[in-house]
């Protein structure tokens, strides 16, 4: 049972994390193409706020505050009582609303459809962007070769 909850949480963590930093235009286009948008009531209307980002001294030591980032969050409940939470980077209330709806739908029978039509293509695109950047970085990696090894 505990394991089931853990797996549930880690799947939920994965989709919420993907949505949080995914490019808004791409996500909204995928989401906008989906039919059968459910009706819902707000539990917390979208609000823009700040989160203090912490780092660690030396990368591994004690925490310190680096600065804040903007985050928008909201919570809603579907007709069947399913609660969805949206936490996204930036200040887009429409994106936060979509995030919370996706989070709610992913806990319902619509999960497979949302996964197929929104989350999967979104994850692919995000991975592609990351991979392109990593490929460019790799091309700037220095290959050293020894010119002269002198011994006087």
């Amino acid at each position: 049972m505990a394991n089931e909850i853990d797996t549930g949480n880690s799947a939920r963590k994965a989709w919420m994390s993907l949505i949080a930093s995914a490019p808004e235009e791409v996500m909204m286009a995928l989401w906008g193409a989906m039919d059968n948008r459910p009706s819902f009531d707000w539990l917390r209307v979208p609000e823009v706020g700040g989160v203090m980002v912490r780092g660690r001294m030396g990368g591994t030591g004690a925490p310190f505050n680096v600065g804040e980032m903007t985050v928008t969050r909201c919570s809603l409940v579907l007709g069947d009582g399913t609660v969805g939470h949206g936490y996204i980077q930036g200040r887009s209330k429409p994106k936060a609303e979509a995030a919370a709806l996706i989070d709610a739908l992913m806990q319902t029978e619509a999960a497979a459809l949302v996964q197929r039509d929104v989350l999967k293509p979104l994850a692919d695109q995000v991975a592609q962007t990351k991979s392109n950047r990593a490929a460019k970085a790799a091309a700037t990696k220095v290959e050293f070769f020894t010119m002269v090894r002198g011994e006087d």
Binding site: N9, R12, K13, M16, S17, A20, S21, E47, V48, G49, G50, V51, M52, V53, R54, G55, R56, M57, G58, G59, T60, G61, A62, P63, F64, N65, V66, G67, E68, M69, T70, V71, R73, S75, H85, Y87, I88, Q89, G90, R91, K130, S131, N132, R133, A134, A135, K136, A137, A138, A139, T140, K141, V142, F144
Partner: protein, 364 residues
């Protein structure tokens, strides 16, 4: 005498209107969009995010547009906006060891695992003006290599294995936040780092340079400099677990400094640390040098009386918004203050004149 005066509303309104017109400049030239600023002046955007202490590239671009490119004014706008945001909480400390590095170099280890990755750097450009850019800025596609699959380990990890570098004590203590509690001295390292990362780049650079020129004598190598994206995780109380709430570009610099040892510490390498929002390389190196100089006391070093060792001096003067606020307020009307000074100087002059006259009369 106290005189209250009022006026200037119309002059102020007209000045604001003219300011807006001047900001726009010649209307026969196309207007800049904030997206253009965000994409094409990204290092200015990064600086505004770092010193404005708010990671939001669109807002920073807007601030730069509104301030006509005056970055300190833009930082001021961001700081003011920041104070209006409700604070949802604090993130878990970001794991820079997991960074997807665009750039990662070490001046100390040539063959470090992960290699020397130059990234989009100015370093080996010739600093010659490129007149082609004045005509058109089209670029050719970048070469692509094989993307690295593994994470890139921190360089200091290798030295740590030998125990030849000072370890960073692990801790999950909640750090103080200078935006919430007024700074008190002595401050601790967490507050110093927060102050340095949002401090003025020029000031931190000047302080760091002073340490290199011999004030506070610390000879630093860049053990590692990395720039790239890291995920930010936060615990969400209503969920009961942490999720990623976004992704930030960060620049991290770790310096390695030779250290002869002191009464309390064995000879070893010590470290300075810089971590700054965005691609902010100069700032993060400077931050690491100043961080190291400010650690003299905990390492049992001598206070050489250098400015960069003086926590109160560095932290009290590093914030360009505090500095500019106090500096620029002296141009605003001080008619009453000055009137009293004028009266005083006139009175003193009269007294001197009277004394001189009396002296002359006595002499005659």
């Amino acid at each position: 005498m106290y005189v209250a005066v009022k006026g200037g509303e119309r002059a102020i309104e007209n000045a604001h209107a003219w300011l807006a017109e001047e900001r726009r400049g010649d209307t026969s030239v196309a207007e800049l969009s904030t997206a253009q600023i965000r994409e094409q002046l990204s290092l200015a955007v990064n600086r505004v995010m770092a010193e404005g202490s708010l990671f939001d590239a669109d807002l920073a671009a807007l601030a730069i547009k509104q301030s006509r490119g005056d970055l300190i004014e833009a930082i001021f706008l961001i700081r003011a906006y920041r104070t209006t945001l409700p604070r949802f909480g604090a993130s878990r400390p970001v794991e820079t060891g997991q960074m997807a590095c665009d750039r990662r170099i070490s001046a100390t280890f040539k063959d470090a695992p992960g290699g020397q990755v130059l990234g989009p750097t100015f370093d080996y450009t010739h600093r010659l003006l490129d007149f082609k850019l004045a005509a058109e800025g089209e670029v050719t596609p970048t070469e692509q290599g094989t993307p690295r699959e593994d994470v890139t380990p921190h360089i200091t990890e290798f030295l740590q294995g030998e125990d030849i570098i000072q370890r960073e004590p692990e801790s999950d203590a909640v750090p103080g936040d200078l935006t919430r509690e007024p700074m008190e001295f002595p401050a601790n390292r967490a507050l110093r780092l927060q102050s340095l990362t949002r401090g003025d780049e020029g000031f931190i650079l000047g302080m760091a340079y002073s340490t290199q020129r011999g004030y506070a004598r610390n000879h630093a190598f860049v053990g590692e400099l990395r720039i790239g994206k890291v995920a930010v995780e936060m615990d969400i109380p209503e969920l009961g677990f942490a999720i990623e709430i976004g992704e930030l570009e960060l620049t991290e610099c770790e310096t390695v400094n030779q250290f002869q040892g002191s009464k309390t510490e064995p000879p070893q390498f010590t470290r300075g640390y810089g971590l700054v929002f965005g691609q902010s390389e100069r700032k993060s190196i400077a931050m690491a040098l100043v961080d190291r100089a400010l650690r003299w006391e905990e390492l049992g070093e001598d206070n050489l009386g250098a400015a960069a060792q003086d926590e109160e001096f560095v932290l009290s003067h590093s914030d360009n918004i505090q500095a500019t606020g106090f500096l620029e307020h002296i141009k605003l009307p001080h008619y009453v203050d000055f009137q009293s000074e004028l009266e005083l100087v006139r009175k003193l002059r009269r007294e001197v004149e009277e004394r001189t006259t009396a002296h002359q009369e006595a002499a005659e």
